[in-house]
């Protein structure tokens, strides 16, 4: 059609103009088709739509299109305003001619076409409520698209009222030019029961070849999983009874009736804040859940009038079993043990379950394990003709599972059961037989059994016995080389002999005492001549338990002289010596020990004692823990040496002990646990010759030297004026406690009575010390002493262990007689001489003496005797012996310091309660009038009528210091009524007197007047007075203690005991008396 190029150019220009017209039509010619849009859904065809004005809407439209110049134009008529045409490779020219309108031509390029994939459809949406999982299925419609396109699927999940997008995910797939059903799972963090979940999907296909615009498809229709809150009448807490792992985050919801108000929701004991899901559903979220308790954790939803709940079990997935080990105890079952590891925290039906699977045989055993044991055990049967087992231990619980495997050859894992029924039978005194039983069929293996043999005397011994195994049978073993008469304990355990794996447990122990056997050897013997020499004493040592082989009942002692039995003796236990009458002769002594099983071989010794000379006695002190004895070698001692000693302990005969040594010995150390320090032991060394024994040496020894117990007793045998002779006795050996070194004497001037320190310690410069080292001396003379002087003498003994306590004595030296005579004679001579001189003087002056002392006419003025007479007359001025005026009698005045003394008493004797209550009770204050102190009734009256007016003057005064003030009250008020006044003699405190006075029932008026004087009481037994003067005024009154107050009338000082008049006004003593009365009398009535 288009023949030349100029035409073509013209057409192109026209098309350009047309194109521009497409966009200008809206404002241009109305009624023409406009807005041609083309969209493809499958990249093969496109749907083109256009708009037409109202004029052109009726009638048919002519639609033509051509892709290029070469292809013919395709035309068709349509009534709709949309057509589906193929997608052009580059562009397409479309001509639309509606009826009544102009023809409109459009050119559509590929880039103008938009690609929107077909809206996907959800094929299925399946919920899994226990796991809160949604499964979504849809088709990718891949068959309509070319192969290999990438498809993106956007899935949206919504929930709540109003809906909220919970999640939006994009899912990728590749289109395979086939319809493929795609599936997608989603696990909700919220149980699906809680509220409705909505799902929709759309897609986007990434067609890279397509140059036009690409877009997401529309959303698919929404699919919904309705929650329980949409179901009428449904309520509860969800999820129901879940089992979850520790640390999970959990969401629980409470679905309830529409009209019910929810109070709170708790997890365990904790309340959580709720979020509303819908009008009928609320939820809480628990983060990082802890292990629940054994019955599970309760999730409770409290409604106004109901409770809803669920129980959550939070635990751990099982640990991989550790230390899986299998062994057979009897070839019937295989016991597998393992450590379960961390507890799962789940119990009951949710507990961890174990199963044992054997791969070779394909056998499975489920294990019932108790949660109490730390090690879990599961039994698997031994299968016939199978040695190797390949075990898989499977562990599972609702949270997870684990496994552990073990390959084991059971013939190498034999752990036999504990041997039972162990019995013992005796063969003889040194051999027994053991029998035991093991349950199990060990026919294919050898058993190695271990016997434990123990006794109190020997160390534990183990004896191994290998024996072929049998089926549930009894095994035996023999034990030899036992010791007779010994209590043994036996136990047995067994294992596999060929492949040792483990010993069984020890069987129960059995005991057996072996029977007795004759003693293994003869006893160790020694003999000694008795002191008289007539008898021989035979000693033997007891045999040790290992030698005696039983209980020794007796020893048989025989005496032979050249095969002739001289004497035979049976000595019963526990004697260890016997005496044989031998006279002067000698014999061979034989001793045999005997027990119930028989006799020992004899021990022999000759009684012959060879004479010895030059026997020395040495001294020895232990070095270390034994006493060392050494001697020169005696070549002719052919059969050794014997050291014999005595364990001397005081008066009783010493128990002999001895020790034998071979003939080449020259030095031994004798040790014994019986050796004590400070005890002297005498050792004798005997040499043994074929003929007999010879004493070679004596040794005296101490284990340790101690200071002597006492000093030697000594006496002063002679005393002179300048010396004394001291003699002492030996110290008894027991008190020496060591070898004597010396004796020291200390001498010093001193009186007997004076307490002095020990002289040896006093450091007195005059101390005389004498040391006597010659121990054979038993006396000592001490010279250069002063005559008639007291000396203190001390003696002390020394050993290497120290010095003894001193022995002390006082001695007075004799007087020096010559000096004494001179001392007497000289004064006598002087007196005589003076007498002679006086006589001579008197004789010469005799005239003058006479004149002076004895004149013939005496001079009265010089008379001393007459002066005496005159003095008497002067004194007679006052001395009127015959006058009737009575002299003022000597008086005793009591100067009472009443102002202070009763006060003291008040405060001291009255309890605070009494003090406060007394003044309040006015009626009781009258009691004061009843206080009676009877005092000197008849004479006092007279004397009161004539009271001394001038007390301080004239008469002698006795100041009566108030006794009350010195009296310390010692009697508690409560105890007061119990005072036995009759028995209390001696001084009575004055106030007590008034108290006792109150007990009088009746009183004379006079007494009442006098009662205020808290009186004096004589210091004697009042009772005695009462008895002594029955007619005294007091005793007339009554027989009570008050009567005693009448008696002191005879005491001279009585009237001054009354207080002075002015003092009577003082209420205090009265008060005191009253207050006590009140206190004691009223107390019981309160």
């Amino acid at each position: 059609m288009w023949k030349n190029s100029s035409l073509r150019c013209l057409l192109a220009l026209a098309i350009l103009c047309l194109r521009s017209l497409i966009y200008s039509q809206e404002i241009g010619s109305l009624g023409d088709p406009q807005n041609l849009k083309c969209v493809t859904h499958n990249l093969q065809k496109m749907l083109c739509t256009w708009d037409v004005s109202s004029r052109g809407r009726r009638g048919q439209t002519d639609f033509c299109y051509t892709t290029n110049d070469l292809t013919p134009q395709v035309c068709f008529k349509t009534k709709e305003r949309r057509v589906e045409i193929p997608i052009p490779e580059s562009s397409i020219t479309v001509t639309i001619k509606s009826s009544g309108t102009a023809t409109k031509e459009f050119v559509i390029h590929q880039k103008d076409i938009s690609f929107v994939p077909i809206t996907p459809h959800i094929l299925s949406l399946m919920p899994d409520f226990p796991t809160s999982t949604l499964n979504l299925k849809w088709s990718d419609n891949g068959s309509v698209f070319p192969y290999g396109l990438d498809a993106l699927w956007q899935i949206q999940i919504l929930r709540k009222e109003p809906m909220e997008v919970v999640t939006q995910v994009t899912y990728y797939s590749k289109l395979t030019h086939e319809d493929v059903i795609l599936s997608w799972n989603w696990t909700s963090d919220m149980p699906l029961e809680c509220t409705s979940h909505y799902v929709k999907i759309r897609c986007y296909i990434n067609a890279t070849q397509f140059v036009g615009s690409k877009d997401w498809s529309d959303w698919s229709p929404t699919e919904v999983i309705p929650g329980k809150d949409t179901e009428p009448g449904e309520s509860g807490v969800f999820p129901l009874d879940p089992v979850v792992a520790v640390g999970s985050d959990l969401t629980f919801c409470c679905v309830h009736e529409e009209d019910q108000r929810i109070t709170n929701m708790t997890y365990g004991s904790k309340s959580y804040t709720m979020m509303q899901l819908s009008s009928r559903s609320h939820a809480i979220r628990v983060l990082n859940a802890n292990v629940s308790n054994s019955s599970g954790t309760n999730v409770v939803c409290r409604l106004e009038n109901a409770w809803e709940g669920s129980v959550v079990f939070v635990g751990y997935a099982p640990d991989t079993p550790q230390n899986l080990s299998c062994e057979t105890p009897n070839f019937l079952i295989i016991k597998c043990t393992w450590k379960p590891g961390r507890p799962s925290g789940l119990y009951g039906e949710r507990r961890t379950k174990y199963s044992l699977f054997e791969r070779t045989s394909g056998r499975n055993v489920s294990c019932e394990v108790s949660g109490l044991n730390k090690d879990h055990v599961c039994d698997f049967p031994v299968l016939p003709a199978q040695k190797t087992y390949d075990f898989i231990l499977g562990v599972s619980n609702p949270i997870g599972q684990a496994k552990s495997s073990l390959l084991v050859d059971i013939t190498q894992r034999v752990h036999p059961k504990t041997p039972e029924k162990l019995t013992v039978t005796e063969n003889n005194s040194t051999s027994i037989q053991l029998r035991w039983f093991i349950n199990g069929s060990f026919a294919e293996i050898r058993l190695l059994c271990q016997l434990e043999i123990s006794s109190s005397h020997s160390e534990r011994k183990l004896q191994n016995v290998s024996t072929p195994g049998r089926k549930s049978s009894t095994y035996t073993a023999q034990v030899n080389e036992l010791h007779p008469h010994t209590k043994y304990q036996f136990r047995v355990r067994c294992s596999d002999a060929d492949h040792f794996w483990r010993w069984s447990d020890w069987s129960r122990g059995v005991e057996q005492t072996t029977s007795e056997a004759p003693p293994a050897r003869g006893p160790d013997i020694w003999r000694e001549r008795s002191p008289s020499g007539e008898n021989v004493i035979v000693f033997w040592k007891p045999l040790s338990p290992s030698e005696s082989n039983g209980i020794i009942v007796s020893h048989e002692v025989s005496c032979y002289l050249l095969d002739m039995l001289l004497e035979h003796k049976v000595v019963l236990e526990p004697s260890n010596s016997t005496e044989i009458k031998l006279g002067k002769s000698d014999c061979v002594i034989s001793v045999v020990a005997r027990n119930n099983a028989g006799s020992s071989p004899p021990s022999r010794i000759t009684s012959v004692e060879l004479p010895s000379d030059n026997v020395t006695t040495d001294q020895a002190v232990a070095v270390g823990n034994g006493i060392n004895i050494s001697w020169d070698s005696y070549p002719n001692m052919t059969c050794g040496y014997i050291v014999k000693w005595c364990h001397s302990s005081g008066s009783e005969p010493c128990s002999v002990d001895w020790q034998k040594f071979p003939s080449n010995t020259t030095s031994v150390v004798i040790k014994s646990a019986l050796f004590k320090p400070g005890v002297r032991y005498n050792f004798s060394l005997y040499g043994c010759k074929s003929m007999g024994y010879q004493l070679l040496k004596n040794v005296t020894g101490y284990m340790k030297e101690l200071p002597p117990k006492t000093a030697p007793n000594f006496i002063v045998e002679e005393t002179s004026s300048d010396s004394i002779l001291v003699k002492w006795e030996d110290i008894p050996i027991e008190e020496c406690r060591g070898f004597f070194k010396r004796i020291s004497s200390f001498l010093c001037k001193g009186e007997k009575d004076a307490l002095k320190p020990r002289l040896s310690e006093s450091g007195n410069p005059e101390l005389k010390v004498n040391n006597i080292t010659d121990l054979t001396k038993k006396s000592m003379k001490i010279l250069d002493l002063q005559g008639k002087t007291s000396y203190q003498l001390e003696l002390q003994a020394y050993t290497a262990g120290g010095l003894s306590p001193p022995n002390s004595l006082y001695v007075v030296t004799k007087e020096d007689s010559v000096g004494l005579i001179i001392a007497i004679l000289i004064p006598v001579a002087v007196v005589v001489l003076l007498g002679v001189l006086a006589s001579i003087f008197c004789y010469r002056k005799r005239e003058w003496i006479k004149e002076t002392f004895y004149p013939e006419i005496p001079n009265p003025e010089n008379s001393k005797a007459l002066q005496f007479q005159r003095n008497i007359c002067e004194g007679n001025k006052t001395l009127k012996t015959l006058e009737m005026n009575p002299c003022t009698p000597n008086s005793v005045e009591v100067v009472e310091t009443q102002s202070t003394a009763p006060k003291i008493e008040d405060t001291e004797m009255m309890s605070p309660a009494a003090e406060t209550t007394v003044p309040e009770d006015g009626s009781e204050s009258e009691m004061e009038n009843h206080v009676v102190v009877s005092y000197c009734p008849p004479i006092i009256e007279e004397e009161i009528s004539n009271p001394p007016t001038d007390e301080p003057g004239g008469s002698s005064q006795v100041v009566y210091i108030d006794i009350q003030s010195m009296y310390q009250p010692q009697i508690k008020p409560e105890e007061e009524p119990e005072i036995d006044l009759v028995t209390t003699a001696g001084y009575k405190p004055q106030m007590q007197l008034s108290i006792s006075a109150l007990k009088i029932e009746g009183h004379s008026p006079v007494e009442e007047e006098l009662d205020k004087t808290a009186g004096y009481r004589p210091q004697a037994n009042t009772n005695a007075w009462n008895m002594g003067t029955p007619d005294s005024p007091g005793s007339v009154e009554s027989n009570n203690e008050n009567a005693s107050f009448g008696s002191p009338c005879s005491i001279n000082s009585r009237q001054f005991l009354l207080p002075p008049k002015d003092d009577e006004d003082s209420p205090k003593p009265i008060n005191t008396a009253w207050s006590f009365t009140h206190f004691f009398q009223n107390k019981p009535n309160d």
Partner: protein, 222 residues
């Protein structure tokens, strides 16, 4: 268990004191009379009441909060009626004959015992299981004892199956929470029944004076 001991001693002393006047009539060889078996049943009821008090404390703690909270008092759900309820009107109860009351007691404890045994099998801790089975044994004793009282009074034992309808167990309660709720109600019902039984037997005791009362030394756990 000090409280347990002292309670035991107290019960024993009370029993001893009650029976002191009757001691001269001590005669062990004679068969237990009705009065005696009533007294014994009464004592057993009191003992079970005491035993239940400690058991319930432990068990409710095992159930966990809110069951062990003192103010936990849920409304009784309709499905909990599987457990025989003791909440019968008191006047109605009083109006029953001795026979009917005893029969109701017998039926109730038989059924409670069945539930209790189920409960025993489900408990996770060994110690609690042990205590529950001990209580079950005691409750079994009470059922037998009530049967004894009934026969001594000449009443027939309630006939027919006494177990709960259908097999009790996991299928009974649809979920663990409701199961716990059942347990709670079971304990509560037991408590109420025991309290009521003690009153019943006390009243019955007064009606039937003991012919021969011996000093009983039952195993009381002290």
């Amino acid at each position: 268990s000090q409280a347990c001991d002292s309670w035991g001693i107290f019960t024993f002393l009370c029993a001893a004191l009650c029976n002191l006047p009757a001691l001269p009539a001590l005669n062990c060889s004679e068969e237990l009379g009705a009065g005696q078996s009533i007294q014994q049943t009464y004592d057993l009821t009191r003992y079970l009441e005491h035993q239940l008090r400690t058991l319930a404390g432990t068990y409710l703690n095992y159930l966990g909060p809110p069951f062990n909270e003192p103010d936990f008092n849920p409304p009784r759900m309709a499905r909990a009626e599987r457990v025989p309820s003791a909440t019968v009107d008191l006047d109605l109860w009083r109006g029953l004959t001795d026979n009917a009351r005893l029969a109701a007691n017998y039926r109730a404890y038989s059924r409670l015992l069945c539930y209790l045994r189920v409960l025993d099998g489900q408990v996770g801790t060994a110690e609690l299981r042990h205590r529950l089975s001990h209580f079950c044994a005691s409750l079994q004793g009470l059922v037998l004892s009530i049967g004894g009282v009934m026969s001594s009074l000449g009443y027939p034992l309630p006939a027919g199956p006494v177990g709960p309808p259908g097999p009790p167990g996991a299928s009974a309660a649809p979920n663990d929470f409701l199961k716990k709720m059942d347990d709670f109600w079971l304990l509560k019902e037991l408590q109420t029944w025991l309290w009521r039984s003690a009153k019943d037997f006390n009243r019955l005791k007064k009606k039937v004076p003991p012919a021969v009362v011996t000093l009983r030394l039952e195993a009381r756990g002290f």
